[in-house]
Amino acid sequence: MMEFYNAIKKENNLSLRFCDIKNKEKNMSFRFCDIKNKEKNVSFRFCATKNKENKLSYIFNIKNNRKRNMRFRRFAIICMMIVLAGMTTYQTGPECVMAKDDDVVTLRVCNWEEYIDEGGWGEDETISLSEKDIIGENPMYEDFEEWYYDTYHQKVKVEYSCFGTNEELYNMLTLGNEYDIVCPSEYMIMKLMAEDMLVPFSEGFFDETIEENYYIKGVSPFIRNAFETNEINGEPWSKYAAGYMWGITGIIYNPEEVSTEEASTWKIMTNEKFHRRITIKDNVRDAFFGAVGAVKADKLTSDSFINDPDYTKDLAEEMNDLSPETLEMVLAYLQETRDNVYSFETDSGKADMISGKVVAGYQWSGDAVYAMDQAQADDFYLNFAVPKESTNLYFDGWVMLKNGIKDDAKKQHAAEAFINYISMPENVVRNMYYIGYTSVISGGDSDEVFDYLNYCYGVEEEEEDVVEYPLGYFFSGEADDTDYIILTQKEQVDRQLGAQYPSQETMERSAIMRYFDADENVAVNRMWIDVRCYNVKNVPVYVWIIIVISLIVAAVFLIRGKIVAKSMKK
């Protein structure tokens, strides 16, 4: 019934407002509903009353300012249906709460910058899928407020704010800023879990029979598995965290200058051929991962290692190896890298890649897609390669914070509903289009996400150089599922599609990077400072001699000057 009512509401561009009033003395309650169509400038008011026996009666009060004609009558009938549908839930709906005007739940959301659809799309940006057209008009968190009220009849106000880095978010939280729901990366989720700062999801959140549980119904089996098998203190991630976007790390390169072979290894960072024409990420975790991959390359690519039955587990262990010997090798490798790369970049790498200043760069898949899209607009093609040693699988996920939720059941309900709302296939497509990253949602029963992929990358069979790109592992959990094969251009496998949805073969060599605990953090940071700082021991001896001589000369002059000044005064 609700679905029907939502569909009609959308089709006719109606806005609804419900208002509940309770009269305790007479033991009666009223629900008013105003329906408005802004374009046609007509509005209706309906009222439903409920007495102590819980019996419903309706009052239709039509107020309008237009001549009654055929069109109007049709509109009136539609409205009546909607109201009947909406009002029936008033009696039967389990989530129906008597909403008072001052009863507004505030939901404080903190997310990465530019990491949710903020609306304002142009008409030409409409995404036409087989089932429906998708366009973002308003920021998604505002749409959520409306949806939440329509679904649960409870007003919610979203206070949306942003953070720049995981560390910044962590510092904000430890300084006492309060948020209800935040979206850090996987290692920060692990850290927050380990420090017992998170609220677990309610049981209802995992119930696949509930229609509104879009997250649990839609999350990709591949991601779900990762969230259930990774544990902190004996508890799986999935208990506390719901995925949002995911990606891998790799090398973006200019195929005219760099061969796929050269780009498919982390060792490219020290490749003399690209001296000062390659960039690396300016943060210790990414640099560390790439360096470990490079220094252990021989072992990681050896047949005996790959064919080991415990390959996945061993790989994760190798890539998270923080032993002093590894740190030493990593340090040496990164020092070599420093002397070979163009820059350590936080954001400038994309622009330098597009403008051709550099020919290759360490990049996150989402940013690589963005760079490839931008370059393509100038008829310049870039490729993305995943190093053969290993690739870092990373997530951003939603977690609820203890110091924000504070055992408030209503708040927690709203927070969980927020996750479900942004996991609705339609909203997933909106976010993916807007941000350019890959959502963890595969859509479950709905094929909208896959349709969107086809809309972006699919081609007809008749065209030349068409290849089949199977994505069953992500969409249904079965690698050879014939329903989820995209027909695409051959080049796309090394370009946007390959970066956004890596092949299963690539994902087999992915590893998740753990968070560093306090001691490891100190050691890794010391290593990083060793890479980035000028070491005083490197100062050549002749420089010291020059400094000492000039200091002596300066002192002599100063003293002489004082003596002269004194004698002159006399």
Binding site: W528, C533, G561, M568
Partner: protein, 264 residues
Amino acid sequence: MKMVFSRKQLGIPYALFLILFVVAPLFVIIYYAFTNGSGQFTISNLTDFFTNPNTLGTLCYSFVLAFTTTCVCLLIAYPVAYILARSEWKAKSIILMIFITPMWINFTLRITALKEILTLFEKNLAYFPFLNSVIGMSYDFLPFMILPLYTTLTKLDQSLIEASCDLGAGPVQSFLRVTLPLSTPGIISGVSMVFLPAMTNYVVLDMLYNSTYIMGSLIGSYFSAYDWNNGSMIALVLLAIICIFTFFGNNADEDSQARGGAML
């Protein structure tokens, strides 16, 4: 008691500002600098700073970078300020304005533009990180050097130079023995406005692809590794260095005026 308004009360807003945003944070920094992660008193942060070759190296590198930047700024700014101050042009203030105008544009924008220009000349910026940093910083801080120099040089009493010429000094000698000592206050305030920010302004280095840390970025890296204690200690050491410089600067200032006066 009736409130009497006195001129002293005008200082209250500033005093409040000073206490809230300068003195209070300073105490927080001191607290963090002398405690360890679990809040116990320690001086190991201080000893760490002076025993770690990397922090010392960073200090040296920042020092050399700042020193070079200051010298370049001084060498460019002094002639400009001197010519402007001595000239009789009516358009003088406009020319001065031209030197100051870049300050009105956000410096990240200016550095981005500079980056493209430098790329034209150098082809690949990564080969000359130190040179680029010096160019970037000099470009950024030049107005701060010109302004104080110009002000001191315009105030300089012309009759003193005439007197030195009358007493037989050549132009070079009168410049070296009269103009230069008398403009020392300008030089000192210019130097302190360029040298100290140049030691910490790591944004310029980041934007011009110099991957070596200076003091500012070193503090940042400690903070992003949740190590507030060592980060605060570095900030404190930097503050101490600034204090020492300011102290010597002021001394030299008085000194030079005494000398300048004595020479007359």
